[in-house]
């Protein structure tokens, strides 16, 4: 029987390298064991939802970039899809293919960061992360070629995308897709069978499927618990019904499963990219954007639409009063809801485990606080 000591409260963050942004945790310890945890949000609150009300529908697209800045293309997509559903805009087929291409590239790029920083938190200081940065850099180059910036893309528009693919884009992407499975093998060789990593992460921070569903967790964190839930299958959008891919799931729902699931998802994204490249090559060049007036005025009404962003279910709830700007725009950020399950995962574990459990959720504070 363990001896109970006087509880000690410790603040972790808001300025702490392992909290992945300005995030504060008030943790209560009994010795070294966590007995209470209170996450405190709001240090990066920029009032995005309110900003939407003062801007036209198109002007809000660059601001969605800044929500989840590691997967800004997915944020563009989620918002544009919501407005298109509200206004009843049909997309040209080429635009749908381009969106799937960039969406899956974004997923790979985001998972590379997530896996790399998770390993960094586990103590493999920056060596595996730099292996992953190598491939992420190649993807960022491709995004740069498409839309001129490396992080805040602002590439999608209501009714399509802002510009067509440059001629040299598809050959470069093809070369990347060809090489990527080899690189993923390298990542696996680096650490997936490493004994130290297994000892640190196997069985640590288990989240049961019931707890996960109750806390409305989504994305890789939910799938790692063994629940096969992917918006691309469950509520299909774009051309995903025509594409073949598997939904990898974890077994235990522990930290290791969450890490390994992201590596498996990268393989599936490569598979989707291969199919989308063959698909887009058969389409003629030309229409990449539906004819939409520059001042979009959706009819009165409301819509909730969701996409599978790399971090989970990214939803946009938009209410229109028939004017040029949304009457209300609500973002459902996956990072925020995944973070609410943190307490269930860490209770009973130690301080060092808290860091890797937090790292395995893959949060971006820009999306949590918005």
């Amino acid at each position: 029987m363990a001896i109970r000591t006087q509880p000690v409260s410790i603040n972790i963050g808001p300025q702490h390298p392992s909290t992945h942004g300005v995030f504060r945790l008030r943790v209560t310890f009994d010795g070294e064991v966590i007995i209470g945890l209170e996450p405190i949000f709001g240090y990066l609150h920029r009032g995005k939802e309110k900003l939407a009300e003062a801007r036209t529908y198109t002007q809000f697209i660059p601001i969605t970039d800044r929500a989840d800045y590691l997967a800004s293309m997915s944020n563009n997509w989620g918002y544009c899809l919501a407005v298109e559903r509200l206004a009843g805009i049909e997309l040209p087929e080429r635009a749908e293919y381009i969106r799937v291409l960039v969406g899956e590239m974004m997923r790979i790029s985001n998972h590379l960061m997530a896996v790399g920083f998770f390993l960094n938190d586990c103590g493999a200081f920056f060596t595996p992360l730099l292996y992953m940065y190598r491939e992420r850099e190649k993807l960022l180059d491709l995004f740069d070629m498409l839309c001129g910036q490396r992080l805040n893309y602002n590439y999608m528009r209501i009714g399509g995308v802002s510009q067509d693919l440059p001629v040299e884009f598809l050959p470069a992407l093809k070369k990347f897709v060809q090489e990527m499975p080899g690189y993923i093998d390298e990542y696996e060789q680096l650490l997936t069978t490493n004994e130290i990593l297994l000892a640190r992460s196997k069985g640590v921070g288990v989240l049961s499927p019931e707890q996960a569903v109750n806390a409305s967790v989504s994305g890789p964190v939910l799938r790692a618990c063994g629940v096969e839930w992917d918006i691309r299958r469950a509520d299909p959008y774009s051309i995903y019904p025509q594409l073949e891919f598997d939904i990898p799931t974890g077994i235990q729902g522990d930290t290791y499963d969450r890490f390994y699931l992201r590596i498996q998802e990268m393989r599936q994204s490569v598979r989707i990219l291969q199919q989308a490249i063959t698909g887009i090559e058969q389409l003629p060049h030309g229409v990449y954007r539906a004819h939409v007036l520059s001042l979009v005025r959706p009819p009165k009404g409301e819509v909730y639409s969701r996409i599978e962003s790399p971090k989970g279910e990214l939803g946009y709830y938009i209410v229109s009063d028939g004017g040029v700007s949304p009457w209300r725009c609500r973002m459902r950020g996956p990072s925020q809801l995944n973070l609410t399950a943190l307490r269930d995962m860490v209770l009973g574990w130690k301080l060092a485990d808290l860091i890797i459990i937090l790292g395995s959720i893959d949060i971006v504070m820009g999306e949590v606080d918005r």
Binding site: P62, G148, Q163, A172
Partner: protein, 168 residues
């Protein structure tokens, strides 16, 4: 414990890869600022480029700006059957380089810049009037939303092709 049956094998596998990478010396790191890669043709670089001859002062760019960082004023009377642009002021401290103004311009009078390294010591230095926004040797326009310009610009260096070492 079954987890530690063959302890050390996974460790050795990882170290083998790092050893291999050490010997093969991958061609990734760019020695900036000695070595500079060619930027994207569609770069949304800092600072806009404004062409006085094409601008009619319609202020579509100012209306499309999400941040309200473009200030524009025209003359009250017609000069040669057209309004003269008296003031064209862009606050680059507020600008987020989203490119919506360039996309909105109906007369191709506004371009994103191809330059970088445009830091300034004072906030006031980031507010540029129309004289400073014109095209010059170190202020070249990029092909963002101007597809007809794309072929003239140099190709972007791509890491996918491992071109970093050749271009020193």
């Amino acid at each position: 414990m079954s987890k530690f049956d063959r302890f050390g094998l996974g460790l050795a596998k990882g170290l083998a890869l790092t050893g291999k990478t050490l010997l093969s010396r991958p061609n990734i790191t760019v020695q900036y600022p000695e070595q500079r890669l060619d930027v994207s043709r569609r770069l949304r670089g800092p600072e806009l480029v404004w062409v006085a001859l094409k601008c009619t002062g319609c202020a579509t760019c100012a209306k499309s700006c999400p941040q309200g960082s473009i200030e524009l004023a025209t003359s009250q009377e017609l000069v040669d059957n057209k309004y003269e642009v008296v003031e064209f002021l862009v606050d680059h401290g507020r600008c987020m380089f989203c490119g919506l103004c360039v996309e909105a311009c109906p007369f191709d009078a506004l371009y994103m810049g191809r330059g970088y390294e445009r830091a300034a010591y004072r906030r006031g230095d980031l507010v540029l009037p129309k004289e400073k926004l014109q095209m010059s040797a170190d202020r070249q326009p990029s092909a963002y939303c101007r597809p007809e310009m794309e072929a003239e610009l140099p190709l972007q260096t791509l890491l996918v092709y491992g071109q970093t070492r050749a271009k020193r």
